[in-house]
């Protein structure tokens, strides 16, 4: 994958890394993790999930038996190996940027 991921894709993939989640849970995870900076609205979330399903980054999985929050059966998603690679590549890219910023002493003394 040469081209970069849209930021919200990256965050969704990140949320799915290591756990299978449904849409609402993804929103909550991303919201909490980014301190409320990224708020996934439904169109953004499900549009991305759909496209990422088509590209094979994520796949729908069986919902766990105990998961039925308040009526309706939510769709659960998991990361595919391809999705994991894309996410990792993106994280790698960020890490390089952070390294560069640190080398230029932009990050000294602030939030490490």
């Amino acid at each position: 994958m040469k081209d970069t991921l849209p930021e919200h894709w990256f965050h969704i993939l990140l949320a799915l890394a290591g756990q299978e989640l449904h849409g609402l849970a993804i929103t909550r995870e991303v919201f909490d993790r980014t301190g409320g900076r990224l708020h996934l609205w439904p169109g953004m979330l499900y549009g991305a999930l759909k496209q990422m399903t088509v590209r094979g980054y994520v796949a729908e999985t069986e919902a766990p038996a105990d998961a039925a929050p308040g009526g309706g059966r939510p769709r659960f998603y998991r990361l595919t190996p391809l999705g994991r690679r894309a996410c990792a590549a993106e994280a790698e890219r960020y890490a390089r940027i952070v390294d560069a910023a640190r080398a230029k002493r932009l990050l000294k003394g602030t939030r490490g």
Partner: protein
Amino acid sequence: MADSRFSLATAFYRVLLRAYPRPFRAEFGEEMERAFAACAARERRRRPRFAAARIAGRAVADTARHACQVRVEARRTRRRARHSFNIALLGPGTPPSRQGLRMPHLLNDLRFALRVLLKNRSYTATVLLTLAICIGANAAIFAIVQSVLLRPLPVPEADRLVNIFNSYPNAGVARASNGVPDYVDRLQGMPCMEELALYRRASATVGFDDGAERLPAVQATPSLFRLLRARAALGNIFQEADAQLGNHLKVIVSQGLWQTRFGSRPDIVGQQMRINGVQRTIVGVMPADFQFLWADINLWTPLAFAPEEKSDERRHSNNYQMVGRLKPGASVEQAREQLGAINAFNDERFPHFRQVLEDAGFRTEAVLLQPDLVREIRPVLYLLWGGVLFVLLIGAVNITNLAFVRSSARQRELATRHAVGAGIGRLATQLITETMLLAAAGGVAGVLLGRWALALVPSLGLDEMPRGHEIRMEPATIAIILGLSLAVGFLVSLVPVVRVWRLNLNLALRDEGRGGTASRRSMMARHALATAQVGFAFLLLIGAGLLFASFRHVLGVDPGFTADGVISGAINLPGARYPDGGATRSFQQRALERVRAIPGIERASLIDTLPFSGDSSDSVILAEGYVMKPGESLISPFQNNVAEGYFETLKIRLMSGRYFDGRDTGDSPSAIIVDRKLAERFWPGRDSVGRRMFTIARPGSSQDITKPGPDSRWFTVVGVVDDVKVLGLAEEDKRVGAYYFPLTQQQVSSFSIVARTALDADTAAGAIRREIAAVDPEVPFYNVRMMSERIDESLTNRRMPMLLAMAFGIVALFLSAIGIYGVLAYQVAQRRREIGIRMALGSSVRAVFGLVLADGAKIVAVGLALGLAGAMVMGSYIESQLFGVDALDPMVIGAVGLVLAIVSFVAVTIPARRAARVNPVSALAGE
């Protein structure tokens, strides 16, 4: 209630969901609804104010963006799939499957609509222009309302910020600031506060290699940065230790200053900077988006207080603004209670002071910061918002009328299409598509127009109003305005649609509209619409007229001095180089001598708090022998220190006694000049000159502070001068007067030069600056302005709404005139036959003319009456913005009514004359 709102929001979102392709909706619709509900709940929890509007805006924006993406994507995959399917089974070139036929419906409608609209250029242009103007005005005003009133301050969780200030309404000071002892008390006694901070705006003289520069700065306790949740872009914010004297010589610079003055050097932290003659260490750079109240701040320095500043002696020496952050869940009421408890406790500690404070009406106020900031501009913005919505309403009525006319012209076309098999629903869709296309185009044009109008903000002086520099058009605003435009389009499109529904094939096909009889009801509806237009326009014009009259009254107010030809500018002597009164007085003496010697400068003098500069200072004073009535409050008049020649320079009238002159030296008895208001309060009807006045004792002392004590300072009145406006021409009459001390007997290091001159402003400023530099090159002369400019600037908050209201009024006037014209012209066209018959039967030209005129007159008269009724309702809303004029001022109402009547009359005569010119023969024959 929560339930109904929930279901309303869900219903709203369901409509939005329609924007997604059907398969996508089937797959995710239900979950998206739930996700939306969760988003909405989160948003509501985050900030309950205007949550509904924000949620709607977000949802629309989210849908608009991602529905498009999903559609594009779906189409791409479908094409790919179909392509491979076709190739596999049938070979290329096969026509698309049935499923593909859904879209062309809408596309066809759009294409057809475009063709129709292009063919009817004048109709299209009229509607577009009307929409663009109305929507544009709405976009601009709504963006201002949104940015100034609705959007939270650019601080995280700004709805927990509280402005706290002492208030002494009976002493003439309803909004004082806070003292340092207050801060100490409140840090202890306000458990509802997460953080409290003192701050004040100041300006600082900064020494650079290429000379000194005066920069806007803020002094603040380190807590301010924590309170604002601010982080430094580089280095650090202030720490609590920086508030210790001796440790306080630190400074934080803005990103802007870092870039322009330090070349963005990365090692700036730890460097030294010379501020007001003192070396300070730079500890941090704030990010570019950090701002609190003011956008122009370049420097922040920590406030450090000496023990004596915290002592009880300094109670009610109010020098600092205070802002607090409530703990989550705490309320402003709690804050008020705790402030009340602190004040009550202090009352017990200083019983001698208690009565005085009670008489002054002393209390400490806590109000939410954001609404408080914009409290003065809020009513006028809401008025303008209402006005601009009226303009849209009037424009929408015009468009509706046009739609009426057009739909009758198209009856035949529609009937034909219906006859050859187009269903009613199909025709209706077509008509709606047409209008919506127009509405969308008009909306886009309006938004562009609005953005352009907003670009004029600085030239209108709008950015001077509170939060004015934050004005911008957000995507949400644009979405709402476009939605508004589409809503108008949809409502307007209902007119022809309803007519299609009632389409009578037989009648319509035989001939279009035989006579006017068939459309009697729609005729009445159109008259009602035109009448409403006149009413709204009248209301708007009355509002604009009242603001205009108020403005003229304000302009007519005598400021108490003659501003023409007086230049003024500020000087600040750094304490490090001018440590005592001797040094400052010697500078003032030398500077004044040099400035007075400039050819072309008639007179020059100095004052510490210049009128109309936004600066003022007040302090309690009493007169010897004056007996206060029980319950009467001490008063705190404006206090000024002026050099010799100040009154003469500004031509402030002398009522009795003398001005300050050479007799008032540092060694002579302390002199004071009072203004008329103060003289009348203390010595009503008696001569004031020669009487003595004294300052009251310190709050900490244990004597009756309304009596002179050992530490009172005494002054002898040498003259009485006329009242001078200090804060603005329309200053409230609650002020309690002013007094003046001679500068020679005070130590004042921050003051303004005033000079009466025949030179132009730039020449005079340059000359004065040179002379100041000759005395001390490190003292900048800044904030230089003619006094008339200062007065002018003080009127911005009145001029801007007045100009806007007048613009809206004029637009409304013309739109309603066009409306009347349109209705009557259409009516005349429809009644050609009837008019022909009348004339054939012997009706005179004049009678026919009068017939139409009477119709028009009825519309205008009823409209005016409605507008007048509206004006009575509006009265209570607009009253607070008026000055010297009543909300139902007969002059204003009469004048704008006359203007409206004349313009309407012109609009009516055109169709009336056309009616009078009807040729009975051709009218009857040519049907």
